[in-house]
Subunit: 242 residues, 2 copies
DNA sequence: ACCTGAACACCGTTCAAGT
DNA sequence: ACCTGAACACCGTTCAAGT
């Protein structure tokens, strides 16, 4: 046990199940009016996909919808709720593992589909990690994942631990990947260019790593499936040995 | 290979080695003046630790230092550089693995120390994941980690892959942990309270998980060392088998 | 060399007023 | 029921002016 933390994570933060995003959208039967929660959320996602989340303001979003900023508040409670709704939509795009299928295949498929969705919506990964999102889509994903593992022989506790370890990797890898959008070729060139800036006495191993990349000894590249494979292998051994 | 992504991550994004935070602080020999880069950064960290990063504005920071917002720009180039400097300070608090020691012990110690540092500075984890920080402290940490693994028999490529898988877990777990700051006791109570909201027909497995937690079948808790252990075990097997 | 006040171009959100 | 304009209390940053 370490100072400052509890050293545990819960399955789902149930104390947040009352979140706005858990409720259905505000106005269901919108017919004559131009705007709707759905339209606002869709346009917000489109803008965030194009220009990033930092430039997404209520004013800019409203302008893109041909309306003033304040009219958005008839359809979303706040910018915070808007972002929750946007994230729920992204999560709705995850492939749910099939309950009763080969758990390893299903879980691997889910992991890859999450990564793909987060690469499509580059703004979403950081937000999904750093806030608690409780929408129908998240509940569906958790239910399917736990269900798949439990059906394959995991206990509920084991399924929780497995899902946690897997998600740490999926989100942790993807957010790093989103920050390194350069080409492998460019990377080698960059290593050559910046080698003189990596002090050989201060950072000998980094220096040598850069030299090896320049000399084509290796490519300095890491892949998603590696860590995923480590974890899946470990889980397989773990469930079978108990 | 999936659409939208490259499916790889580089060791270090060398194209960013020219970042301001990689250079030494702006004014080194500050004597008579009241402010200095170091003082600005320290106070900013103190404020962020206390009130979170969202409320840290240049104006509030300046006020806390008894100065106007604009005078801060004599010591940091921008708010962005300020945050880079703050993050570098946090990373400087990580325990570096000893080169030549038992790699598993050293790497595990590093992982726990990172988690601890990020729990002390709750604002730092999300930022460290979602931006590229290249300061002396990061270079030192990477150098020591790669050095520890290489000295223990990993190839440079293997060391990269290992560090990547480990860091995905360390950061991925910690950021989740930061979002679940409730007590285990409270969690059980919350499960009982919110059970009716988890539709048994829509989310049967989540429903059953909640029931099991309420019935003390398990505690719904996941620990840092579990995923870390899975990865370390996998790495151990991986290096020995080649 | 450092600090300042005023200003610029923005924010999210409230509120009273319109239709 | 929805949309609006004006306003409030903020932002980060620039720039000319002070010492």
């Amino acid at each position: 046990m370490f100072d400052g933390g509890h050293d545990y994570i819960y399955t789902v933060n149930m104390s947040r199940l009352h979140q706005p995003s858990f409720k259905p959208p505000m106005n269901q039967s919108q017919k004559t009016r131009s705007l709707s929660t759905q339209k606002v959320v869709s346009k917000a996602i489109k803008l965030a996909d194009k220009d990033g989340i930092d430039t997404l303001s209520m004013r800019r979003l409203a302008a893109a919808l041909g309306v003033t900023a304040m009219s958005l508040y008839n359809h979303v409670e706040s910018k915070d709720e808007l972002i929750d709704l946007m994230l729920n939509e992204v999560v709705a795009g995850f492939d749910s593992p099939k309950i009763g299928g080969d758990w390893e295949v299903e879980i691997r498929r889910r992991a890859h589909s999450i990564r793909r969705a987060l690469l499509r919506h580059r703004w979403a990964c950081g937000l999904l990690m750093s806030r608690i999102v409780i929408g129908g889509a998240i509940l569906r994903d958790i239910n399917a994942t736990v269900g798949c593992l439990v059906s394959a022989g995991f206990s509920y506790a084991q399924a929780d631990w497995a899902r946690n370890a897997l998600d740490c990797h999926v989100y942790g890898y993807t957010i790093q990947e989103l920050n390194y959008p350069v080409d492998p070729g460019e990377y080698k060139a960059a290593a050559a260019q910046y080698l003189p800036m990596i002090s050989k006495t201060d950072y000998p191993f980094m220096h040598e790593a850069a030299v090896q990349i320049i000399d084509n000894k290796y490519d300095g590249v890491t892949q998603f499936h590696f860590g995923l494979g480590l974890i899946l292998d470990g889980l397989k051994r773990w469930v079978s040995e108990i």
